[in-house]
């Protein structure tokens, strides 16, 4: 083969490699793959709904079109219930986060209080959510207090225990390093412990968002007359399964949006952390 021929062959090979790489990169791109998979799954679910709606009555499985109509109707007339639920969820999660982090810090930093707080938190983890819901109905008159109490009691141990574990995982090397400068306890907390536990707070928040959303709906169903949970109860008692599914759709979207926001916060706050990937 001549040199020109060689060059052409190499160029062709390189071109085919480039094309191959392009194909590979599109199919292997995580964002594309994730979005594509989600679209496929949603399409299958909608198709299953559509097919089954032809064989069963509306109060068992309405068609996706009926659910979409119900969703539009609820979004126009009943959006305040979504805002109420969202407000309850955010208030309780924020309080549980602050209180849980404080309890975790006390457990991690005070050997005197550690066994008492740890016992309390571990007992709390063993109490079923339903017990808190029923007790809240007995103990509090105000529905807002009930729901706030239920959510805080359920979410707080997650934060407290994870933060405590985070402090226990603090590298001794870093503790010795900062101690060599003779910091006050407040300075150790500010420069070492608080930045170290930020990933634990974010991870806990990511883990409990879905659970907290399910719990607030459950609590509203039992303990309140307003909010998505109570509206879902009403829809169920009046055989409006399309509305139950429409509310469910809103909750799924709400959960996705909140997960997205926490992921954004994680990217902003943990930009110092190198991304590791396993082959």
């Amino acid at each position: 083969m001549t040199r020109v021929g060689n060059n052409q062959a190499m160029a062709a090979s390189a071109a085919s490699k480039v094309v191959g790489m392009r194909r590979e990169s599109i199919w292997q791109r995580a964002a594309f793959r994730d979005t594509g998979a989600t679209i496929i799954v949603v399409a299958i679910l909608l198709l299953a709904m559509e097919v089954s709606s032809h064989f069963v009555p509306d109060y068992i499985m309405p068609s996706p079109v009926a659910v979409a109509k119900a969703a539009i109707g609820l979004a126009n007339n009943d959006y305040s219930h979504i805002l109420i639920t969202l407000g309850r969820l955010l208030a309780a999660m924020l309080f549980a986060m602050v209180a849980g982090v404080l309890l975790g810090l006390v457990m991690g930093m005070s050997p005197i209080f550690r066994p008492f707080i740890r016992s309390l938190v571990i007992i709390d983890t063993g109490i079923p959510a339903l017990s808190w819901i029923l007790l809240a109905v007995f103990w509090f008159k105000n529905p807002e207090t009930r729901i706030f109490f239920i959510l805080v009691m359920i979410l707080l141990p997650f934060y407290a225990l994870n933060i405590y574990d985070g402090i226990r995982a603090l590298p001794k090397d870093l503790v010795d390093m900062i101690e060599s400068f003779r910091p006050s306890r407040w300075q150790t907390l500010r420069y070492l412990i608080l930045p170290h536990i930020v990933p634990y707070i974010l991870l806990t928040t990511k883990s409990v968002i879905g659970y907290a959303t399910r719990m607030v709906i459950f609590a509203e169903l039992v303990a309140s007359a307003v909010g998505v949970g109570s509206r879902m109860g009403l829809a169920q008692s009046t055989f409006h399964v399309d509305q139950v599914l429409a509310w469910t759709f809103f909750l799924v979207v709400l959960n996705i949006v909140m997960q997205f926001l926490v992921t954004g916060a994680e990217k902003a706050l943990l930009k110092w952390r190198p991304e590791a990937s396993v082959r």
Binding site: L174, S180, F181, R182, Q187, W272, R273
Partner: protein, 266 residues
Amino acid sequence: MTVNVTTSLVNSGDEVISLRDVSKTFGGFRAVDDLSFSVREGEIVTLLGQTGAGKTTVLNLIMGTLQPDAGSIRVAGFDPFGQFRDMKGRMAVSFQTDRLLPWRTALENVELGLLILGRPKHEAREVARSWLARVNLAEAESKYAHELSGGMRQRVALARALAVDPKLVLLDESFSQLDHVTSQTLRRDFCELARNLGKTCLMVTHRIDDAIEMADRVIVLGPGARISLEMGLGEARSNEMTREASRKKIEAALGLQEKKQDYQGE
């Protein structure tokens, strides 16, 4: 048996570190056995010993993170364990690994000690920036630890230690994890800085080269941190023959020559 040879070498008036009959036991193991030595102001002293000789325990006792079972320790006039917080700003430590806080940039890591000392933020930033420039890392000030090479990280750690302008700098095998060339460059840079600033330094190492190249005096520790040799090294740094003689003496004190002969015999 303790070999106390410090008294003749040290003028007690300007001692920055002073250990008198110090012992420390862990369980039944006597890690430090009746140790006495001193380090004068502006001196660079190396504690040399093989693994398990108790070097790090001695360093921890001087840092104040361990309490001696017997004897007395004074660092810059303070009891480092009993007066732990009173020693703020008087001592800085450079460790074997860089121990940079991963969530802080190079500049923020250098600032750390200054902020703990209570210096205003803008002043701490200025001082930190000038120290990064002194260790040739001005360009890397906004990089996080994982974005720096091993040598760069260790430079940041040295800048962090020196930025607080301490009376005493402790170095715990600070250059031992770096490759030969980086380690040699850093040793030279550090020595130049420390001597220009008149810092008192106590360096713990197991590498004879580190001791000879950097220190004014070497203290060789045997098992139980007992002193087996104490020797001035001022001349050894400039004179090749003295350097070789010093190396042989240190090797003998460490028992390395016997080991060499054993290997040759085999």
